[in-house]
């Protein structure tokens, strides 16, 4: 793999050039109030790559919160037309754990029935990763992420001695930077290790992740589910900010003139009360503890058993947004380890 470098100033000029060329929508991390978000860049001046965490992961570009799937004329079943929005885009500054999450999403939407609406957006995107330069107190990515970032990133950047050192991961990435002032770095992969790990995580899942599927299987009746479930407000914030949550609802919307209708896909979440309620009113996960367990099982058992990677990437967003202070997997597994007695199966 080629390892190039570019000075910070040259990199910002390169971004401006890309914005001007308009070959693709340029998206990056920008500051919003005291927080950071992914947003379309108007100029490299807005780019805020020295960030702790973004409010939402970049998933919103591939599975938008509200996404148009079909258009039709209300009442006319012969008028259904599939539509999609997949303008080319490049996203700059995605931390490695968010890339790991995109890898998980790619598998979910491409394996089995292929979801063309998602996949076309992904195929038309360029992902430029960045190793974190700033501490975030809830992050525990190092204890859960392995090599996933390199399976989806086109370029991986790490800040070293005032330069961005760039690993050219894909042909698409190579092509993207061919007009920039990127030069041979002279570094080997090992040379980058220290910079990649310069920001430490304070948080850590107390159990090796490869043991967690089995661990959860044995702890279906652990008191954590009922104890944490009782405190849950079922607000859905944890699943809303999660980079590996992709559950959705599908709804019909009709324009006020009644002439046009849309079928849209919207974000949904298993922590919301009616997520598993059927038409006859039967709720298959009626208790908050059941929903809490399902979310942790999905990340820690079901997704790992299917994709062979831990289903949580350790971004810490859920812990950060949780009003009840219960959502973070580190918290959950610590409690489980500290309270090993059997409980009631909720």
């Amino acid at each position: 793999m080629e390892i190039l470098k570019i000075s910070e100033n040259d990199f910002l000029s390169f971004i401006d050039k890309k914005i001007d060329e308009k070959n693709e929508k340029m998206i990056g991390v920008v500051k919003k109030g005291s927080h950071f978000i992914f947003d379309e860049l108007e100029s490299s001046e807005n780019l805020a790559l020295n960030y702790d965490v973004t409010m939402l992961p970049p998933k919103k570009y591939f599975q938008p919160p509200k996404e148009l799937l079909l258009k039709y004329k209300p009442g006319d079943a012969e008028s259904y037309r599939a539509v999609n929005s997949c303008d080319p885009m490049a996203i700059v500054g995605i931390h490695y754990y968010d890339l790991a999450a995109i890898y998980m999403m790619d598998r979910a939407f491409s394996e089995g029935e292929r979801d063309e609406h998602y996949m076309r957006k992904r195929e038309n995107s360029i992902l430029i990763g960045l190793y974190p330069t700033k501490y975030f107190k809830y992050r525990f990515a190092k204890s859960v992420v392995r090599d996933q970032a390199y399976k989806v990133a086109d370029l991986m950047m790490v800040k070293m001695n005032g330069d961005y050192v760039v690993e050219v991961v894909s042909e698409k990435g190579k092509d993207f930077i061919k007009d920039g002032n990127f030069v041979e770095s002279g570094y080997s992969l090992q040379d980058l290790d220290e910079a990649k790990n310069s920001v430490k995580d304070d948080q850590k899942i107390p159990i090796p992740v490869e043991l967690i599927p089995d661990y959860l299987g044995k702890n279906h009746a652990h008191p954590v589910w009922e104890t944490f479930g009782e405190k849950c407000f079922s607000c859905g914030s944890c699943v809303l900010v999660c980079p590996t949550c992709y559950c959705f609802d599908v709804r019909d919307e009709v324009e006020l003139d009644l002439a046009d209708g849309k079928r849209i896909r919207v974000w949904d979440g298993c922590m919301l009360e009616d997520f598993a309620t059927c038409a006859d009113g039967h709720n298959f996960r009626k208790e908050k503890g059941q929903r809490f367990r399902h979310r942790i099982y999905r990340k820690g058992k079901h997704l790992p058993e299917k994709y062979h990677y831990f289903g949580c990437v350790g971004c810490g967003r859920c812990q950060y947004v949780c009003s009840a202070d219960i959502a973070g997997p580190v918290k959950v597994f610590k409690y489980m380890e500290e309270n090993k007695q059997g409980g009631k199966n909720v």
Binding site: L68, L69, L70, K71, Y72, K73, P74, G75, D76, A77, E78, S79, Y80, R81, A82, V83, N84, S85, C86, A108, F109, G112, E113, R114, D115, E116, H117, R120, H220, Y246, C247, F248, D249, V250, R251, D252, V254, G261, R263, R265, D268, C270, F275, A276, T277, C278, A279, D280, H282, F284, R285, Q290, H294, Y297, R298, K301, H302, E305, K306, N345
Partner: protein, 285 residues
Amino acid sequence: MCEDCTCGEEIQKNSIYLPEVAELVSKKKMTDIDSFFEFELKGRSLGHLPGQFAEISIPGIGEAPISISSPPSDENTFEMVIRNIGTVTNAIHNLNIGDKIGIRGPFGTSFPMNNLKGKNLLFVTGGIGLVPARSAILYALQNRADYKDITILFGCKEPAQRLFTDEIEEWKNRNDVNFIETVDICEEGEWDGNVGVITTLLPKLKNIDPLETYAIVVGPPIMYKYVIMGLHDMDFSDKKIIVSLERRMKCGVGKCGHCQMDNIYVCQDGAVFYYDDIKHLKEAI
């Protein structure tokens, strides 16, 4: 938007969410809230197997998962019995003959009718569980020589909720079918048949050989646990019990997460399961 760009045609061809068109060709009221519908697909047969379901769309209202009630067929028509219980099903109930709907599917697993050949069949159905089970019952009756004794148990809340009453009369009159039904409750003088929940019928069965019989169980969520206990009392092994489980199917393609039961997406890995394959799942029964 891609409708204007080069991938517009691609998404039209490959979207897993785009419905086909079917036309309502007949409908008939069955109970206060359930009606029978026959739809005709344009240009092809649905190609479903017994026990599968499809997603029915009403443009402007939404989409809902509905069991297919007719047996497999080369014809372009298929049948559904739909309970008027939500916005989509209400809109379906308001359709007139000739009206069009959208349809995606068929989805899910099916009753393993080939594996059941040469065996006795015991259908245990509750309420609208008879609707998906009927696709297997009619298939077995069409291929009557392939199966040994056929027993159908049907239970519903009250006499007014009985479904397929004409067909039930036929099944009762056939000497190659043993049909027994019950209602949970009834008014004085309203019903002269069995009264009691579906499990009260199991002890009435004589000469069922659990080694040579498959039980096919379809009903409301509460029913499974008790029927399976009853079947165990009759010495049925879990490998001889087949269940079709209700869940909230939304996308039908194993993505949206609503129907998930432990690690299983019921819309794809079910809704029909051998009980033996799912009994270890905590969220199954």
